[in-house]
Amino acid sequence: MNLLRIKGIVIQNLFYLRHSLEEFVETFFWPAIDVIIWGFMTTYFTQLKGSLFQVIGFLMAGLILWNIVWRAQQDISMSLLKNVWSKNILNLFSTPLTPGEFVVATMILGLFKIFLTLSVISALAFFLYYFNIFSLGFYLLPFFVNLIAFAWASGIFITGLIVRFGMRIQSFAWSLITLFQPLSAVFYPISILPSFLQKIAWFLPSAHIFEGMREVLKNGMVSSEHLFWAFGLNLIYLILADWFFIFMFEKAREKGKLAKVEI
């Protein structure tokens, strides 16, 4: 054992941590998110009066629908990252391909993959836990559309950040959306959140959808207000995300970052 060599490797990793925002953030990001979500869930369970079957229903539906958001957002961002990792970005954007066409293509791809994900996890939930996601009935369609739209808006926003700031923030592709999970109240109602967080949560389309999902599972219907807010917010966020992506793409061209996005 040579202490100097051990020091060398320790120092190497500390240097890396200093230059790698993603590793630094991940050091505390995931544990913090877990603590927050499980904290709110525990609070919710202690106040719960419904049957165990209903609780399982809430959890399973939340899990399945959150996967839609998570997967669809990742598909958008990963589509760019795959090309960055392979050093194919220059080849790609020196063709007549426009940033808008790139985004639309990734949306279509995301839609296709989400159907695959949804089929598998809803079948597993049915056969293993007797939970049928289709018990949401007609409401499944607007829920699905809104969650996909929210995921697309988030994915496009994150992709814009990666185009502009490069690989230093690539972990945003799989971590940033998780930041919205506690506020989206996936596994517990919004009323569990502290009041200041409740005000922020209502600005998330996903919060309206998960609140609506619980209403359907409990009462068989959802208030049209939730759907109206979800559709309206998604429309605004999609427009803003598209604008942001194009703006960041142009900024990356100005700064010369598109030529060095892998850095």
Binding site: K82, N83, S86, K87, N88, L90, N91, L92, F93, S94, T95, P96, L97, T98, E250, R253, E254, K255, G256, L258, A259
Partner: protein, 313 residues
């Protein structure tokens, strides 16, 4: 002006205070192959990135096929292409799949046929179904060239297109490029660190240094900037006598090895010096006369710029 396919006027790129490209202007005519040379950091890559629309200039105009690049980006990019030894493809796609993607992006009719033709031309047909991940550097360079000719470009930017290629494959690539120029009148902007390649391939050379064009002419005319030739002599005996001979005449010489002498002198003086050496009774076993080439021009330009910079400090 002849039939210019590319016109660059007062192009400037400043990266937060670092002037990468400083007010350059040049053009490329139809069917012309122009070399872009310069040391590392001279602004070659930034220039190519601006010509491809990847990087946005701070000021200046780029016109391709007579159209403004910023306002006709899509139309222009459909008719130009790019190959660099430093770009790659999606590694988990096969050679064919990668090219098929680009055939779609360039809206190629009958893509499979076109891809097959190019793969045969660049001797990659046996690797058609191989994952790009498993290709050697030379094979990747050829795959880049296949991509670059997929859309029958009228103007092509080649960034070290033969880097990592074996001499025989590099020769075939050169032949292919000449054929593309001969048959389809393709214009090319060519960068390479291989000066012999630039001399062989290019009709005209643009020298960049610190973001500025410092020379632009045919390779032959550029070599005429340097008046001196290089005479290398090898002797049977040690050099004492020869060294005295050179010192007496004030010749500019170096002794790289114990029996070898390198003299820098004007071409017309070579005969006289050799005759005088023979008269002195010196036995010469080998004579090499080297005329100045692009490498010497390159070194002179870079060194003279560095000297003038040091003088100013």
């Amino acid at each position: 002006m002849e039939d210019a396919v590319l016109e660059v006027k007062n192009l400037t790129k400043n990266f937060d205070g670092y002037l990468a490209v400083n007010n350059i202007s040049f053009e490329i005519n139809r069917g012309e192959i122009v070399g872009l040379l310069g040391p590392n950091g001279a602004g070659k890559t930034t220039t190519i990135m601006m010509l491809l629309g990847i990087t946005k200039p701070n000021s200046g105009k780029i016109k391709i096929f007579g159209l403004d690049f910023e306002t006709h980006r899509k139309e222009i990019l459909n008719k130009i292409n790019f190959s660099s030894a430093y770009t790659y493809f999606l590694e988990r796609l096969t050679v064919f799949e990668n090219l098929y993607v680009f055939a779609c992006l360039y809206n190629i009719k009958n893509p499979s046929q076109k891809i097959k033709e190019l793969l045969e031309k660049f001797e990659l047909i046996n690797f058609k179904d191989k994952l790009t991940l498993g290709l050697s550097t030379g094979q990747l360079t050829r795959l880049n060239l296949c991509k670059a000719f997929l859309n029958n470009p009228e103007l092509i930017f080649l960034d070290e297109p033969t880097a990592s290629l074996d001499p025989d494959i590099a020769k075939k690539v050169h032949e292919f490029l000449f054929e593309a120029r001969r048959e389809k009148n393709v214009s090319m902007l060519y960068t390479s660190h291989n000066m012999d390649e630039i001399t062989q391939m290019c009709d005209r050379v643009i020298f960049l240094n610190k973001g500025k064009i410092v020379a632009s002419d045919t390779p032959l005319n550029l070599t005429k900037i340097i008046k001196d030739s290089f005479l290398t002599l090898t002797f049977e005996a040690p050099l004492k006598k020869v060294k005295e001979f050179c010192l007496k005449r004030g010749l500019n010489f170096q002794i790289p090895r114990f029996n070898t002498l390198e003299i820098t002198l004007k071409e017309e003086e070579i005969g006289k010096i050799l005759t005088q050496l023979v008269r002195e009774g010196v036995k010469i076993t080998d004579i090499i006369i080297k005329k100045p080439d692009l490498k010497d021009v390159f070194l002179q330009i870079v060194q003279s710029k560095n000297k003038s910079k040091n003088r100013n400090l």
